[in-house]
Amino acid sequence: MEVSLLVNGESYRLDLPPERRLADVLRDDLGLTGTKVACGEGACGACAVLVDERPVNACLLLAAAVEGHDVVTIEGISRDGLTALQEAFIAQDALQCGFCTSGQVVAATALLAANPSPTSEEVRVAMAGNICRCGCYVKIERAILSVAEGVTV
């Protein structure tokens, strides 16, 4: 079926099987491999992308379902250079292997957009759907809090 997508501000017209997942379209058809697939069942958050500024797991979404919506991937977030949040992830060492990091940055970007001054508890609730097997959670929390509004580090 023919599907029109808006990804990172670019329009695409694609001929796709109706069952094709958004994650596969992004990675395989558009070459946007920054979005990772780790569990394929919405349990880990590695494939998180923004759809109309809300974080969703692209492995659980059919590509056809986001027609008419605004999709932003980690590549879109990074288009104008590193954001303050990404700088904080590097400075705080909030990553090890980095495979979950795209999803962590997407989820944290959405959190800060919706709530610019989250508490520690709010960060832990918002980020609980993003697994990091290397165990960078202490520093992920620190990185997010360090760029929260009104905080100087």
């Binding site: 780790a38 060492d93 990091t101 097997r133 165990g135 929390e141």
Partner: protein, 751 residues
């Protein structure tokens, strides 16, 4: 000058003596102690050098590799723990549009006379065991091909129970005994005795990047992108399988999405991909889905352990008996850490690996040690309390400064410093205050545990450095950085020794082509093996750079030094940027190479440490939460405290999964795991993460190398689970029967 010397090398408890090539070390002078020295880079926090690539999604992992015409592979796996494959319709599978090749157990593969036996199985003996592999144009076509195989699989009886396997003497390998002194007599004569039986869980690595490989043949040359911690082992394995020289195989591992012990050597993925690529003439990708990842990539084996300890009123341990039943495969279950962690003269050990119908184990971060320390450290606590000693004081009293298995002294051991520091950080002396009632109604307690591990690394390991006209120094290593930050550590070491700013140093690894060897990322070996070679190479380049500076500035090079890019004379009359020298190089480069020296003879190299955990227990529902972990480890010199603290935090969080939530659960009818997905196999999340306080002993091991760093990958995961369960006992006075500490186990303990 190059020499071949014999060097003793330890990896995950296995000791071997082997020939190793070493060269004269230009950096023979040890760096000073961290507190005395004036370091520009070493010991200062360094963000990882590839951080920007990893936070923007630009880092390219094996699963991101897309090649024109690339085929995809689906693997048929056994749905039963034990089965016989009665038929596979290969011809039908080949008629599926897009299917290009099918492998079955008797398919020819690799070099002349080779086959898929050993990779694919007609009588699978665990659920998830691979039976056949189909390569096709698309993942969908490969899946259709597997269905078209119309596999007729007959279920056979399976064994998942220790007792049943034991009664039928089904051993994976012969049971192994350890004897020292006279356990029974000492145990009988002692003032106090404790006995403990405890079960530990199956823990699955669950790296978020699955095991994966892409293979491409160009004539008789094979290029492989692999998610592996062992690129040289993968190269050797593929060269052997296909009967070709190693230099015709190139393995690339630029970014690896986690390992934790798995992803060693040329696994099934690499061999399937290379064989299918050869048969079809197309590049081939093999990548596990999460289900395959949780079923068939190895795991920490489950154990049931019984320990008996005895001690005297003076606070001395006199006897330790440790018996382990291990659920199939026993990586790292050699000499027990239970017999060397404390001074004890009388020990008896028995380790038996049982041939259950479960996935054979492979190495998982501190294999064999973490499981046994988890039980030993509970028994040590019990004995201390039985004898009326503070648990930490009891451990101090039984400190030992030599390796009791070999009789050799340790090259360095700062465990007593770790005890003192961690007790101070955690407020150990006031821990009984936690036993007072809390407003939230939770019970609280604090427990400790000690850690021992190898981590000395050794030769061979090499590095080369080229400093060019643009002032950039490129360090070439054989490191595969699986996320531990070892490339960044090399950048820091090179910058310090070169006297250049960290930003002017690039480090490469993850490619076998330059043939600069480093050991696999295992056994906490990378930092202690590779960093001395990097420092040695950097010393050569620095010496040459200062010689050239002498020519340029018309002074004696002996009068010059360099720090953070500034070349200075002793009297500071000359103080110039190094670029004034390198800009004159044009296309020439200043080259240096270095290698790791031999390990000390007659000394044992080990890491040590102690952790304290504070837990809170909701007795109404049986929930245990870890609130704070304090960790102090002796790993020699800490090159990059930022990356080092990340390693410690990660180890602690994985151990929390082992202690509280992770295990493989089986369907008794099929013998297949019921929780082989990430929503059922519960790894810790940010919401499960305690406060973590990290410190180090900061005592360089001058006997080990010119850098003095021991390894850090594994030590932090070892004592956490024991500290948690000891905190539970402090809070409740009770013991659980095993891990994970499920609500059922906790409520049973509290009943």
């Amino acid at each position: 000058m190059a020499r071949l010397v014999k060097s003793v090398v330890e990896m995950e408890g296995r000791i071997s003596e082997r020939w190793a090539l070493v060269e004269d070390d230009e950096a023979a002078e040890p760096w000073p102690d961290p507190l005395d020295g004036d370091f520009a880079a070493v010991g200062r926090p360094a963000p990882r050098l590839d951080g920007a690539k990893r936070v923007t999604g630009q880092a390219r992992y094996t699963v991101d590799i897309q090649l024109p015409g690339m085929l995809h592979v689906e693997v048929l796996r056994s749905p039963f723990a034990h089965a016989r494959v009665k038929s596979l319709d290969v011809e039908q599978a080949k008629t599926v549009p897009g299917v290009r090749a099918v492998l079955t157990p008797d398919s020819p593969a690799g070099a002349e006379g080779g086959s898929c036996a050993g990779l694919l199985f007609a009588e699978p003996d665990y659920a998830g065991c691979p039976i056949a592999a189909v390569a096709a144009d698309t993942p969908e076509a490969a899946r259709a091909g597997v269905i078209a195989l119309s596999a007729d699989i007959e279920q056979l009886p399976h064994i998942l129970d220790y007792e049943e396997a034991l009664s039928r003497e089904l051993f994976e390998m012969d049971p192994r005994e350890t004897l020292r002194g006279d356990f029974e007599s000492a145990y009988a004569a002692a003032d106090a005795r404790v006995e403990l039986t405890f079960e530990t869980p199956t823990e699955i690595h669950s790296a978020l990047e699955p095991h994966s490989c892409v293979a491409r043949w160009d004539g008789d040359e094979l290029t492989v992108w692999a998610s592996t911690k062992a690129m040289f082992g993968t190269r050797a394995g593929l060269a052997r399988a296909f009967g070709m020289p190693q230099d015709q195989v190139r393995v690339l591992v630029e970014f690896v999405g986690g390992s934790f012990g798995a992803k060693a050597a040329a696994g099934k993925e690499a061999l399937f991909a290379a064989e299918l690529a050869r048969q079809t003439g197309r590049p081939v990708r093999v990548a596990n889905d999460r289900h395959a990842e949780l079923n068939d990539t190895g795991n920490r084996p489950p154990t049931r352990q019984t320990m008996r300890l005895a001690g005297n009123k003076d606070g001395k341990l006199v006897a330790v008996e440790a018996e382990s039943l291990i659920g199939r495969g026993s990586p790292g279950f050699g000499a027990s850490p239970a017999f060397v962690l404390y001074r004890v003269e009388n020990v008896y050990g028995l380790d038996a690996s049982l041939k259950l119908n479960v996935r054979p184990a492979n190495a998982f971060r501190a294999p064999g040690t973490m499981e046994r320390i988890t039980v030993l450290e509970q028994a040590i606590d019990d004995l201390a309390l039985e004898l009326g000693f503070d648990p930490l004081e009891f451990r101090r009293r039984n400190h030992v400064d030599f390796d009791q298995a070999s009789g050799e002294p340790y090259s360095s051991k700062a465990l007593l410093d770790c005890y003192e520091r961690v007790a101070e950080l955690a407020g150990w002396a006031e821990r009984d205050r936690l036993l007072r009632p809390h407003p939230d109604g939770l019970l609280r307690g604090m427990g400790c545990a000690t850690q021992i591990w190898g981590g000395g690394g050794g030769p061979p390991s090499h590095a080369t450095i080229r400093l060019g006209g643009d002032g950039i120094a490129t360090v070439v290593t054989g490191i595969q950085d699986v996320g531990t930050g070892t490339l960044t550590a090399a950048q820091v070491v090179a910058a310090e020794e070169l006297g250049l700013p960290v930003a002017q140093v690039r480090v490469t690894g993850g490619d076998t082509q330059p043939n600069i060897y480093a050991p696999l990322a295992a056994g906490s070996m990378t930092v202690p093996s590779v960093m001395p070679a990097v420092r040695s190479a950097a010393a050569v380049v620095r010496r040459k750079l200062l010689q050239l500076a002498g020519d340029v500035f018309e002074v004696s090079p002996d009068d010059l030094s360099i720090r953070e890019g500034q070349i200075r004379s002793k009297d500071r009359s000359l103080d110039r940027p190094y670029s004034e020298v390198t800009e004159k190089l044009g296309n020439a480069t200043i080259d240096g190479s270095g290698s790791r020296g031999p390990n000390p003879t007659g000394k044992r190299v080990n890491t040590f440490g102690c952790q304290i955990a504070q837990v809170a227990i909701d007795t109404a529902v049986g929930e245990v939460r870890v609130e704070h972990v304090w960790a102090v480890h002796d790993v020699g010199r800490v090159v990059n405290p930022l990356g080092a603290s990340s390693q410690v935090e990660g180890g602690i969080i994985q151990a929390i999964g082992f202690a509280l939530s992770e295990d493989r659960v089986f369907d008794p009818t099929t013998g297949a795991p019921t929780n082989a997905w990430l929503d059922d196999y519960k790894v810790p999340t940010i919401a499960d993460t305690p406060e973590i306080t990290v410190d180090f002993a900061h005592k360089p091991d001058y006997e080990l190398s010119n850098v003095g760093s021991k390894g850090l990958g594994e030590p932090p995961i070892i004592p956490t689970a024991a500290a948690i369960v000891n905190a539970f006992r402090h809070a409740t006075g009770r013991r659980v029967t095993g891990m994970p500490m499920t609500r059922k186990r906790v409520l049973e303990a509290l009943a």
